[in-house]
């Protein structure tokens, strides 16, 4: 075929534009961070970005608020970003952006132990300190993990609550968060072991996943109650799940007959504790968790600790903390809420 003038023009335009684009990108990036790299540390302020599992989740709103308080206290700049849905690939673009912006510290609750690993590694090599909180990644991808309580403690308190409420015999089910979430999966594994060893008359019917989405958790609760007519208790190790399950049961015939417990926030659960749907539930203070995570990040950025066992740092009003095995810092023990004490808390 003949190469007409028009086609030559097309080819020419293509070549010119491609070379323009690549040279523009390549050229300007070689000139160093010339273009106004204000945020990044030249001013000396520590930039901290909180990346929860997803935005619009009241648990993380509270924890990140604690983080913001801490960052303000030590004079850094705070930012909160996150995906709308709790997926690992949703978190990757924000990790990339943090690396590009030269953020000093990234505090993240991971949606998956491995999937965000290489993005975190890239951020670390760009100079960002990575602190995981609430939900960990595999240890090589982060500098520190701030855990709310020991996994054993969290699993045990939930098993104790639900078995006590159903008289230590009967069928129960677990309504979890996202299927890959590191923290929930760790607790569920320990809960299954605890049940098998210490509660032989209690049968775990199913583990279903509400994805930390209110509507999905609500629907899964309904499905559980329909599929297992003899169900006596639902344990939800996620604040979104327990709130949705309580909401469903409190307006159904199962109120008072099927126990609802797990990890919940006092403000979300207050109504259901008062109307009898929920007897007890547990949590720690997520605000303290975010606060501690922010101070741990600051200690890393300042070079005061490196994340190895035995390192100590001060976390503002919470006091002194020591780094344990595997680069883990423990906040404390879980706390059980019930009708008697729930009014004392506001989060």
């Amino acid at each position: 075929m003949k190469l007409s003038k028009r086609r030559l023009g097309t080819l020419g335009a293509l070549v010119v534009s491609l070379s323009l684009v690549t040279s523009a990108c390549g050229g300007s990036s070689d000139s160093g961070s010339g273009g106004g790299s204000g945020s990044g540390g030249s001013s000396g302020k520590i930039s901290v970005t909180f990346l929860p599992k997803n935005l619009g989740n009241p648990y993380f709103d509270t924890s990140d608020k604690g983080g913001a308080t801490a960052v303000k206290e030590f004079g850094g700049t705070y930012k909160q970003v996150g995906p709308a849905e709790a997926t690992p690939d949703g978190q990757v673009p924000f990790i990339n952006t943090a690396a590009q912006q030269g953020t000093k510290a990234l505090v993240v609750s991971a949606n998956d132990p491995k999937a965000i690993g290489s993005a975190l590694t890239q951020a670390k090599s760009a100079g960002t300190k990575v602190v995981t909180f609430d939900s960990d990644t595999e240890p090589q991808y982060r500098d520190l993990f701030v855990n709310q309580a020991s996994a054993d403690g969290i699993a045990k308190v939930q098993v104790d609550m639900v078995t006590k409420q159903i008289g230590d015999s009967g069928e129960i089910a677990i309504l979890s968060a996202a299927a890959n979430a590191t923290n929930q999966n760790a607790w569920i594994k320990l809960m299954k072991a605890d049940l098998a060893k210490n509660h032989p008359h209690v049968k775990l019917d199913a583990v279903v996943y509400g994805n930390d989405d209110d509507q999905t958790s609500f629907d899964k609760t309904a499905a559980l109650l329909q599929s297992y007519p003899n169900l006596k208790g639902i344990v939800s190790p996620t604040t979104v799940g327990i709130a949705a399950a309580a909401r469903y049961i409190s307006t159904s015939n199962y109120k008072g007959k099927v126990a609802v417990t797990g990890l919940g926030t006092p403000n979300q659960m207050r109504k259901y504790v008062k109307d009898g749907t929920v007897q007890q539930f547990a949590l720690w203070n997520p605000e303290d968790l975010g606060y501690l995570a922010a101070y741990a990040a600051k200690a890393l950025v300042d070079g005061k600790i490196t994340g190895k066992q035995g390192d100590t740092f001060t976390a503002g009003k919470l006091g002194k903390y020591t780094v344990g095995a595997d680069g883990t810092v423990l906040l404390g023990d879980p706390f059980v809420f019930d009708k008697g004490n729930i009014d004392k808390f506001n989060f």
Binding site: T10, A13, G40, D89, D112
Partner: protein, 346 residues
């Protein structure tokens, strides 16, 4: 000597430069210059590789989508094929299959998906909008059905590195090279072969194309098979890039692809468009998203801006067409017979 084709109204330089494709590429250069100077950290070393990694699946799917839209059809099921391919890759790998073999299976399934779409549109004669909305749901349902809500995330590093790392010189992600080759192939196919000529003819007037000897049904089938196949390829890239195979991967990607194609100057009514414009459109959306993200603009606002850009771009085509029709109307009424009359007489 009489010429056998109508003389062009405008000189070559005007025809080459005053096109929609050049406008998009010009806008891209303008945005790049603005971003490099005004957006903090845009000139940083990580911007280019992250940008190219982000647009890679969109660029891939935009290539066959251009062909589909030029024929006057549309394929909304591409993102669902990405999800299905992703899930197949993950699930087969989980059951012990090697990555290359699992990838081949995923590609084959993508081809089948495209074949199904193409058969319904080209041979049964159903409108592509309706068919691909249906297959959007069908393929996505299959994808979510296979893995449920779990994600498969332990892929071997040698494969994820291929999809995630970049060269030291030039900071170009490795994945860009095969994509560029594919872009050149599609460019040659569309602009330099008789098959490509046929694609444009179908978009302008399918009946006339049919009577000119173009096998319209087969050409449309081929375009849908290509979108299916390339979407599956994009699914493999997406999965390895994010290290996560999930049924709901890439939900909504089809809209980004179509937006990029339309921004690149391809007419939604079919019959008009060029591949270099589409490349420009994809990069434009990528650069705008990257720059706005660095400015800490939320994803919602970024979507609003891109949506506005798309609406303006589609409107501008109609606006320009209306303006030039007006000018032609004025010219004829003024008695400017000139070349028009000579052409009519020929």
């Amino acid at each position: 000597m009489t010429r056998s084709y109508a003389a062009h109204q405008h000189p070559l330089w005007r025809r080459a430069l005053v096109t929609r494709e050049v406008a998009v590429i010009g806008l891209l250069v303008v945005v790049l210059v603005w971003a490099s100077s005004a957006v903090p950290n845009f000139s940083g070393p990580l911007t280019l590789p992250f940008l190219l990694l982000d647009v890679a699946p969109i660029l891939l799917i935009a290539l066959p989508m251009t062909l589909v839209i030029i024929t006057g059809e549309i394929d909304l099921s591409v993102a669902s094929v990405v999800g299905l391919s992703s899930v197949l890759l993950g699930s087969l790998h989980q059951h012990g299959m090697s990555i290359p073999l699992a990838a081949l299976v995923a590609l084959f399934v993508g081809l089948l998906c495209g074949l199904f779409n193409g058969f319904l549109v080209a041979y049964v004669g159903l409108p592509s909008l309706a068919v691909t909305i249906g297959t959007l749901a069908l393929y996505r349902g299959l994808a979510v059905g296979i893995l449920g809500t779990t994600a498969v995330t332990d892929f071997p590093t040698r494969w994820t590195d291929l999809a995630q790392q970049w060269t030291t010189v030039g900071r170009i992600p490795y994945i860009v090279f095969p994509i560029l080759v594919l872009a050149v192939v599609f460019g040659l196919l569309l602009h330099f072969t008789s098959f490509g000529r046929g694609i444009f003819d179908i978009g302008l007037n399918a009946e006339a194309a049919h009577f000119s000897g173009v096998d319209v049904a087969r050409a449309k089938l081929v375009t849908f098979v290509l979108t299916g196949l390339v979407s599956a390829l994009a699914g493999i890239d997406y999965t390895l890039r994010y290290g996560s195979a999930r049924g709901d991967n890439a939900t909504g990607l089809e809209l980004q692809v179509i937006a990029a194609v339309l921004l690149g100057g391809v007419s939604i009514f079919g019959g008009r468009g060029a591949l270099h414009g589409v490349l420009g459109g994809v990069l434009l959306i990528g650069v705008i998203s990257s720059a706005l993200r660095l400015e800490n603009v939320t994803v919602n606002v970024i979507n609003i801006i891109i949506g506005l850009l798309l609406v303006l771009s589609v409107m501008s085509t109609s606006l320009l067409a209306w303006v030039s029709a007006l000018r032609r109307g004025i010219a004829t009424r003024r008695g400017h017979s000139g070349s028009e009359m000579r052409r009519a007489a020929a």
